[in-house]
Every structure is written in C-alpha cells, then in structure tokens.
C-alpha cells in the first residue's frame, strides 16, 4: 500500500529482491553446472535439469531486480526523507531475515532451531530408526558442536554479506548500517552455537 502510486518505493521492493536473490545464486549456480556441463542433456538426470532451469529463472529475477531496483531510481526525483527511511527499513528487514546461516542447508539463511521438530521426527522415522536418546544425541552432534559444516555455512554467509555490500555500494539513500550490512555481519559461529545450544536444551526438555 505504501508504494501505491510511488515509483521510487515500488523500485525499492525490487532492490530488496535483488539482495535476496544474490544469496540464492551463490549455491544455485553451482547446482546448475551439473546440467549445463552435461554433454548429453537429453539423458541428464531430471533434478539436474530442474536445478538448471531454476537457476535461469532466478537469474531472470535478478536481471529485473537490478534494472528496476538500481537503475530506475537514477531516473527519478531524489527520494524524500520518508522514502529513504522506507527503503532502509526494507533492507534492514532483509538483513534480519538473512541473519542466520543453516547447517541443514548450506546457503539457506534460516534459523535451524525452527526445524528441530522436523529433524527429530525424521531421525525417529523408519528411515533412520533412532530411539529418543539417539535422535537427541545426533541433533546435539549436528547442531551444537563446532563442525566443518558449521564453518562452511558460515563462509557462505560471509560471501553473501560481502555480495550484498557490493550490490548496494553506490546506493546513497540507504543508511550506512544498511549499506554496510552491519546487522548481518554480526552473525558468527559463536553466536550460532550459543543460540542453537540454548534452543536444543529447550527442545530436549520439551520432547
């Protein structure tokens, strides 16, 4: 509603979308290569083809986001103080959404604790056949210990932070905290471990 009849605010929706899709393509591009590099595309595995076309779709999203989010505002009147504030709030929201990094899926910036219930049920299912103690122990090993997976996911997050900074580098109407992605940059391995250990203790007590 706020962007109704307001070209600048409408364009900033696409600026935020540009940031969000930058992250996805770090991983999606790698996945797309299985199909792109396959000499026999007719016989390529379907998941590889899906990854490739998903990547192409995301690339299209990014193209439109870049044009409308970054280029169009250069043709508009300079934003008012209110418009600048709204644009910065949009980026701040993206930073909040992308604060976490996930061991479950490297490159997805969700909070792993939100998936504890699902992971537990999966471990207790016939697929893994863990008993209660075994499932909790496995979750402890996966989510509450300093592992290579944790550092790999953190590295992807760092790449995203630097990519987001580069994307909005020249966007002068954003506040410095949003141009420099200060909130996202506070996310680290020690914080992940502290939060998930706390959440896992709560989950264990309730399970």
């Amino acid at each position: 509603m706020m962007s109704s009849n307001n070209a600048f605010l409408a364009s900033q929706y696409l600026l935020v979308r540009g940031l969000r899709t930058l992250n996805g393509k770090i991983v999606q591009h790698r996945l797309s290569r299985f199909y792109a590099d396959d000499a026999d595309k007719e016989r390529a595995p379907l998941p590889a083809a899906v990854s490739y076309y998903h990547f192409m779709d995301e690339s299209h999203h990014f193209n439109t986001s870049r044009i409308i989010g970054l280029d169009v505002p250069r043709s508009l009147e300079p934003p008012t103080a209110f418009e600048r504030w709204v644009a910065s709030r949009g980026v701040a929201g993206c930073q909040r959404d992308h604060f976490h990094f996930s061991i479950l899926v490297n490159g997805i910036f969700w909070c792993d604790a939100a998936a504890f219930g699902t992971v537990y049920r999966l471990l207790r299912s016939k697929l893994f056949s863990f008993d209660h103690g075994g499932a909790i122990e496995m979750m402890q090993a996966c989510f509450a210990e300093d592992t290579a997976a944790l550092h790999a996911s953190f590295q992807t997050h760092r790449t995203a932070v630097e990519s987001y900074r580069a994307f909005v580098e020249g966007v002068s109407h954003l506040t410095p905290a949003n141009r420099e992605m200060r909130h996202m940059a506070e996310s680290d391995v020690a914080g992940y471990l502290a939060r998930t250990r706390r959440a896992l203790a709560g989950f264990r007590a309730a399970a």
């Binding site: 690339s59 193209n63 870049r66 790449t159 630097e162 994307f167």
Partner: protein, 99 residues
Amino acid sequence: MTFRVEFPGTSWPALEFPEGAVLSERLTAVNSPALFGCRTGICGTCLVEIEPICDYALPPPAEAEMEALEIYAPGNAKARLACQIRLATGVRLRKIDAL
C-alpha cells in the same frame, strides 16, 4: 597449468586458478572485487576490464556477450562480462560500472 588473476589498483591479493577455470565459480565478493549477478551474461553486474598478463589472449566474447557489451560498455575493447570468462591466460581484472 595455473593462471594468475590480478586486481590492480585494489588491495585484493592475486589469485591462481587452473587453466579452464570459470571465473564465476572461483571469484566471490570475499576473495575479489568482482560481484556476480545473473551469471548468464545479461545483467552486467560483473562488468570488468580485462587484459592478459602475458602474450596469450583470452578467447573473444561470443555473440551474446558482445551484444551485452555494446550496451554496457560501448567502445571499450577491454570490457568483458566476468561470468563468461574461462581462463586461458593470466589476466588483470578491473571492476567497472556500466554506462
């Protein structure tokens, strides 16, 4: 064989990649000044000036890349889209802004 990628005018240290390495799979915002967007040769986010370090030249841009370069950097013979580069020689790479 490996090739060197340098980033003159910046504090980014040079990198070494094997022959045939695809830049969009090797360079990130953490190890270089390059930023990749669509990675399909359209958006122009990864627009750079590239020059070979030694005598070997990079393969010339394909028709689609050439078309994009005519929009983003008309008349700039050194301009390339980094996402389309497969290393065939050592290069110096400078990030530039689209016109």
